[in-house]
């Protein structure tokens, strides 16, 4: 195997549709991408697709056993676990603990399927039972603060037919009581998401969710076999990207203040790594101070599985863009119907490609709208003051497109057009990146490199930075 330098490192991501993998050579000078493959995910037994990917990456025939392959490379892997861990978030006040619960769930690589504030009603509980989440993130009250709602909700959860584990990250003063009430449940107690008003503490809850994810994800479908054989735990795919986005600026300060967008078939993920609020005399922050590294995931925005809901959510934006492009609304409606029925459909001809592009633009428009905060102008007797809610992305210098679609985009148009349109959104001034360059994750490596972050943070960051390509800002829109 002289073809391989000092060490061979493999990273595999088991997605819901494709199992993607890459093999890297690790030398003193860093990581080098050697090959990249994708095979269809084998849903009934994930090991089959994993095995094939690994064999192909290592240039072995498919009869070589996993044991044998194992000795040829150091293997890391992630799994999207059917599109991410499904989390139900329970908080007290919508703008405070519930908002933090949602942020914690999303930055742990989960998908918030439903959120609840104040008291759970009996129909809320029924809905929860029907949704059957993987985890319930249960919060409410500052430490020593409100306990009424949390205790009430604990009783309701205890008497429900839910079976998933509950992560309790609420008022510390009643944590023991909550555990006692929910005797028949698996309750994992962690630090309060908001120990004091305005104090954000989502890391401990994130860590607990990640631990549960690992335990859950390996059950069934053969993953346990892989874990045992390779002695490594899988990462949730979105968490892998989150960790990469967190790590890059540590090694490359010139890449501080960055954002990444990943549009998939089912979801759109938006990541940002920049200070969320700069305190000045003329800007007052309202609500919580959001974390520096933030991920939001939008379950209703996606290019295939979620195309129909995207088409609904994105009406305003799409109507506007169709007019500009001189395209018919009903033609697009028909296209959306076609791709929703057949999710592996590839667009044919310029018009359909344009439709696909418009859908991607709409994903970015609405994902950015929800991720990025804003300013409202307020006139006070002391002069003009801005009230900020949410996160300030003005200083973001680089926006990287990843995922199957954006990795293939050769111009910045798909990202640039919707972000520019957001500048005139309502009365609020959106805190959009002011002078950002656009890049693409040329080999669609971000999630695979994210798997290596724990062991090879510098090397993975270096390759990530080297493999992005700067896009033409003006963008030939008619291309």
């Amino acid at each position: 195997m002289s073809r391989y330098p000092m060490k061979t490192v493999v990273s595999i991501d088991i997605g819901s549709t494709w199992t993607k993998g890459a093999v890297f050579g690790l030398t003193a000078s860093g990581l080098e991408l050697l090959a990249r493959v994708s095979v269809p995910t084998t849903q009934s037994n994930l090991v089959v697709g994993f095995h094939e990917t690994l064999a192909r990456l290592l240039h072995q025939d498919s009869h070589t056993s996993l044991e044998e392959l194992k000795d040829r490379a150091e293997v890391f892997f992630s799994s999207s676990a059917k599109g991410g861990l499904r989390i139900a978030a329970i908080g007290l006040v919508p703008d405070l603990t519930l908002q933090l619960a949602k942020l914690a769930a999303m930055s742990a690589g989960g998908k918030v399927i439903k959120s609840f504030s104040f008291s759970l009603t009996s129909s809320d509980v029924k809905e929860l039972e029907k949704l059957s989440p993987d985890i319930i993130l249960f919060s409410g009250g500052t430490d020593g603060g409100n306990s009424k709602y949390v205790l009430e909700n604990a009783h309701k959860l205890e008497s429900s037919r839910l079976s998933c584990p509950v992560v309790y990250a609420g008022n510390r003063a009643v944590a023991e009581e909550v555990v006692n009430i929910m005797k028949s449940r698996e309750v994992i107690v962690t630090e309060n998401l908001m120990p004091e008003i305005g104090q954000v503490n989502i890391e401990p809850a994130r860590e607990k969710i990640r631990e549960i994810f690992l335990k859950r994800i390996v059950v069934g479908r053969g993953l346990a076999e892989i874990v045992e054989l390779f002695g490594a735990q899988p990462k949730p795919t979105p968490l892998a990207v989150f960790e990469l986005i967190s790590a890059i600026p540590e090694f490359y300060p010139e890449w501080s203040d960055l954002a990444a967008i990943d549009i998939g078939g089912a979801t759109t993920d938006f990541y940002s790594n920049t200070e969320s609020y700069l305190e000045t005399d003329t800007v007052v922050l309202k609500g919580i101070r959001e974390p520096k590294v933030k991920r939001t995931v939008e379950g209703d925005l996606g290019l295939r599985v979620s195309a129909r809901s995207l088409f609904e959510t994105g009406q305003d934006y799409l109507q506007d863009r169709l007019r500009e492009e001189g395209l018919e609304f009903k033609d697009m409606e028909e296209f959306v119907g076609r791709i929703s029925d057949k999710i592996d459909y590839l667009p044919v001809g310029d018009k359909e490609k344009k439709f696909d592009q418009l859908l991607a633009e709409a994903c970015i428009y609405y994902a950015a709208l929800r991720h990025i905060g804003g300013w409202k102008e307020v006139y006070t007797p002391q002069g003009k003051v801005y009230m900020q809610t949410g996160k300030d992305l003005r200083r973001v210098k680089a926006i990287i497109g990843s995922g199957g679609f954006l990795s293939e985009e050769r111009t910045a148009a798909v990202m640039d057009i919707p972000l520019r349109k957001l500048r005139n959104y309502g009365e609020e001034i959106k805190l959009l990146p002011e002078k950002a360059d656009f890049y693409r994750d040329r080999y669609y490596l971000f999630s695979l490199l994210g798997n290596l972050i724990e062991k090879y943070p510098r090397e993975a960051s270096t390759l990530a930075v080297a493999s992005v390509e700067k896009l033409n800002q003006k963008g030939e829109q008619n291309d």
């Binding site: 306990s147 005399d281 007052v284 309202k286 007797p381 009230m387």
Partner: protein, 185 residues
């Protein structure tokens, strides 16, 4: 025993950004043995109420210095009731009206709006703290533990402090006449 302190929420309501007095109130009430949640300046009714719910606060102390309190506080008590904060104690203090309206008129107006106590800008803060302790005891049957003992021990000290705070409170009034450069653009 951190948990036994009574929590109060303070802040300056509306589009008012007088921040000096607000910080003094935080220091003062903290030294009086309360757990103070300070929301700072330009606080909306909703924010006061949200913070009071999460922290299980006994009282909300609203400040206003710029003369628009009446408009800003419209429906405050109703919002509290709507959100299930029925027994919460509401205080308001500061320059609550523009011009030379007699204080008794102002007081009546705000009491009608559902505020339990209304204070002029030159009130002795020590007195406010006493009233607050009484009101909390009456409504919730508790008061800041250990406070009386501490009061006795620090009597002289507290006296000075409240006087000082009062003087600075007067200083805050001057802010109104000369808008603070720091909060204006």
């Amino acid at each position: 025993m951190e948990n036994q302190k009574d929590t109060i929420v303070i802040g300056v309501i509306g589009s008012d950004c007088h921040s000096v007095g607000n910080k003094i109130l935080e220091m003062f009430f903290t030294s009086e043995g309360f757990k103070v949640v300070n929301l700072g300046v330009m606080v909306s009714q909703q924010e006061f109420v949200d913070a009071a719910i999460e922290t299980n606060a006994r009282a909300i102390l609203v400040s206003s210095l710029y003369g628009h309190a009446e408009i800003d506080c419209q429906g405050f008590r109703e919002l509290c009731i709507e959100k299930g904060l029925d027994p919460i104690i509401l205080y308001i203090g500061g320059n609550l009206a523009v011009g030379k309206t007699p204080f008794s008129v102002v007081e009546e107006k705000f009491k009608k709006m559902g505020f339990d106590r209304v204070f002029p800008p030159d009130i002795d803060l020590k007195q406010v703290a006493e009233l607050l302790r009484q009101d909390i005891k009456e409504k919730f049957g508790s008061c800041s533990k250990g406070q009386e003992a501490r009061d006795r021990a620090n009597q002289a000290g507290l006296e000075n402090q409240s006087q000082a705070a009062n003087q600075i409170g007067q200083g805050d009034k001057n802010d109104r006449k000369e808008p603070e450069g720091s909060t204006a653009e």
